[in-house]
């Protein structure tokens, strides 16, 4: 099977577990994001793929070949570090030519490749600049150019944008994504920023508590989180307890019944966790409870201009609903309000 395959990969430091039981198939030419909170083992996993960290168990295979024991310098993987790790004693051109020099590429070919890459990152004039004289975004681009100079099989990005300010980061996300698609290079990126992962990734691997929690496209992860951890970590969501009544019905802590998509694995009487996204909740003028329309009371309004977050207490649950100013109807704390939970927007997360 082509692509990168991780089988039962694990890493222990003494008795402490960094990451365990990782089984992944990373297809060729895709951008995969390892997303998770800090300390979930995502960087360790990336470093194991890079060869900078040894495995304590499992196998890593590239195009069918076990590379678990291949030293980092023989893997031909490009990597952009969190600190970028450009060589301060070399110019931009020398930095980019370094991997070519190591491979014995002739001076003329080195020069040609450097020029080609500088064109790609649009820094043609900077070839003789020392890297210390570049701006944050320019350094970022040089680091990427250096990482891809020797046509690596895989590009690894370890939170490469964390040092940039928010605005530059947004534009670099798009730039890296476009570059990756143009070069069609298999890329693995580590990030703790879910917006970054949603923007850039073909496949998101959610890591948490030292394990893979879910693998899927950004929309799958957002729309169909596999468990409470993913539902809580990705986006903001209303997660609330309920009891299964059978026939696609659950009861809320306050006693109201709710119609939800039928989930065969849930038995009657089981306690479950439910998820509904704030943007799926519909607020309307107070009416009597009927079907999935519940009557509640506003407990907090956060109007941040572009959107309005309204917190509504109903049936013993505190829901947060997101609406745009034009949908709003001047709610304030203490007002009664009706909340509709569309059936298809409700997710059963299991126990």
């Amino acid at each position: 099977m082509s692509g990168l395959i991780l089988e039962n990969v694990e890493k222990h430091y003494g008795s402490a577990c960094a990451v365990t039981d990782v089984n992944l198939h990373l297809p060729e030419g895709k951008l995969v994001c390892f997303l998770g909170p800090s300390g979930c083992g995502k960087t360790t996993l990336l470093r194991m793929i890079a060869g900078l960290e040894t495995l304590t168990g499992g196998e890593i295979r590239l195009d069918g070949e076990d590379i678990g024991n291949t030293p980092a310098h023989l893997r031909n993987f490009g990597m952009v570090f969190q600190s970028l790790a450009l060589f301060p004693h070399m110019t931009v051109g020398e930095n980019i030519a370094y991997p070519l020099k190591l491979r014995g590429v002739s001076k003329a070919d080195q020069q040609a490749r450097v020029v080609e890459l500088l064109e790609l990152i649009q820094l043609q004039q900077m070839i003789n600049r020392p890297v210390a004289k570049l701006s944050g975004g320019q350094r970022q681009r040089v680091a990427i150019a250096r990482a891809i100079a020797s046509h690596p099989k895989i590009l690894l990005l370890d939170e490469p944008l964390s040092a940039l300010d928010a605005k530059l980061r947004e534009s670099m996300q798009v730039e890296i994504r476009q570059l990756q698609q143009r070069l069609n290079i298999t890329t693995i990126m580590v990030t703790h920023d879910q917006r970054e992962a949603m923007t850039m990734a073909d496949i998101v691997v959610v890591l948490g508590e030292h394990k893979v929690q879910q693998v899927g496209t950004p929309i799958e992860i957002y729309r169909h989180p596999a468990n409470e951890f993913v539902a809580d970590f990705i986006g903001s969501g209303n997660i609330f307890p309920a009891t299964a009544l059978g026939n696609g019905k659950v009861s809320l802590p306050g006693g109201d019944a709710l119609q939800v998509p039928i989930c065969s694995s849930i038995v009657v009487g089981e306690k479950v966790k439910m998820l509904i996204r704030p943007e799926d909740l519909q607020l309307s003028a107070p009416q009597a409870t009927a079907g999935n329309r519940l009557l509640g009371k506003v407990t907090f309004v956060r109007d941040i201009g572009a959107t309005i977050e309204t917190t509504v207490e109903c049936s013993g649950v505190s829901f947060t609903a997101l609406s745009t100013p034009c949908q709003g109807f001047g709610l304030s704390v203490g007002h009664p309000v009706s909340v509709t939970l569309p059936v298809e927007a409700c997710r059963v997360l299991g126990a």
Binding site: A50, L52, P71, A72, H73, L74, N76, F77, G78, M79, F81, Q82, S83, A85, L86, F87, P88, H89, Y98, P99, L102, R103, R146, A147, A149, S150, L156
Partner: protein, 281 residues
């Protein structure tokens, strides 16, 4: 309220003045012996009275004479002592650096048992009484079945210079993150190649500072060398001392001025090379 403002205006000026007087005094203490020596080297009298009754260049002439055509009473010419000194200092510089660079790398990058002890041991020669060290080394070298002359001076000087070189190299190492090294490896450099291509160039100022310090320490060393020199192999400080004990003549002051000049040039070069990075002595 008004006294408070008055105090605030007075305080910084007062501290500055006090600091100025104090540092002036300390500087004077440091420079006074050198100044005395320089004044004495221009003495026109034939004795060691201070201040001299008249001034001339006679001792420089005498020094030059000794340098070019040594008289028979000298066991060894200054030229020979000078070449020994330079040889010993250069070898000390090279060997101390060869040992210190890997040591600094290991001390910063690797975790091993007894690292704290190793760090402490590294600076032991700085606090160890020189006389005891000299005596100990003499005992060791004399118990060896073979005869060593210049090489035993080099070994002793390397021991004395090592703390300075290791300290400077370690300081330089500390500022180099492990990510640049890993980056070089990811780009295809073997671990050793990564050190040679990336770590050593980034350590350059620390290494150069360490090398120059090793040279200076070795060139000026007296106490330990005094135990280890032989009649046909002696360094400049020993030569000068042997001259003053046999017949104290002011010629040595002219030589001393020369040595101080060399030291000044070296220290100036050190500051230039290292720049704002700073040297740790």
């Amino acid at each position: 309220m008004s006294t408070l403002i008055k105090k605030r205006q007075l305080l910084p000026g007062d501290t500055g003045k006090f600091a100025g007087i104090l540092s002036g005094f300390i500087l004077l203490l440091a420079v006074l012996p050198i100044l005395t020596m320089i004044v004495m080297s221009f003495s026109g009298a034939s004795n060691l009275d201070f201040p001299p009754s008249s001034y001339s260049l006679q001792w420089y002439k005498a020094a030059w004479h000794t340098f070019v055509s040594p008289d028979a009473s000298d066991v060894l010419s200054l030229g020979q002592a000078m070449s020994t000194s330079l040889l010993v200092s250069c070898l000390t510089m090279v060997f101390a650096t060869i040992i210190a660079v890997p040591a600094a790398y290991a001390l910063t990058r690797c975790e091993f048992r007894g690292k704290a002890v190793a760090l402490q041991l590294m600076s032991l020669p700085l606090v160890f009484p020189m006389v005891v060290l000299g005596l100990a080394l003499l005992l060791v070298f004399d118990s060896l079945p073979f005869h060593m002359t210049t090489s035993r001076l080099v070994i002793a000087h390397v021991i004395l210079a090592l703390p300075f070189v290791v300290k400077n190299c370690t300081a330089a190492m500390l500022s180099i993150g492990s990510e640049v090294e890993e980056a070089a490896q990811m780009l295809g450099a073997s671990p050793l190649r990564a050190i040679v291509d990336v770590v050593v160039p980034l350590m350059k100022s620390g290494i150069l500072a360490g090398m120059l310090l090793a040279f200076i320490v070795s060139f000026n060393e007296f106490t330990v060398t005094y135990f280890l020199y032989t009649i046909d192999v002696m360094t400049v400080p020993i030569w000068m001392y042997s001259r003053t004990v046999s017949s104290l003549d002011p010629t040595v002051f002219s030589f001393a001025v020369l040595i101080v000049l060399i030291d000044f040039v070296l220290i100036w070069a050190l500051e230039k090379l290292v720049g704002e990075g700073g040297v740790s002595f």
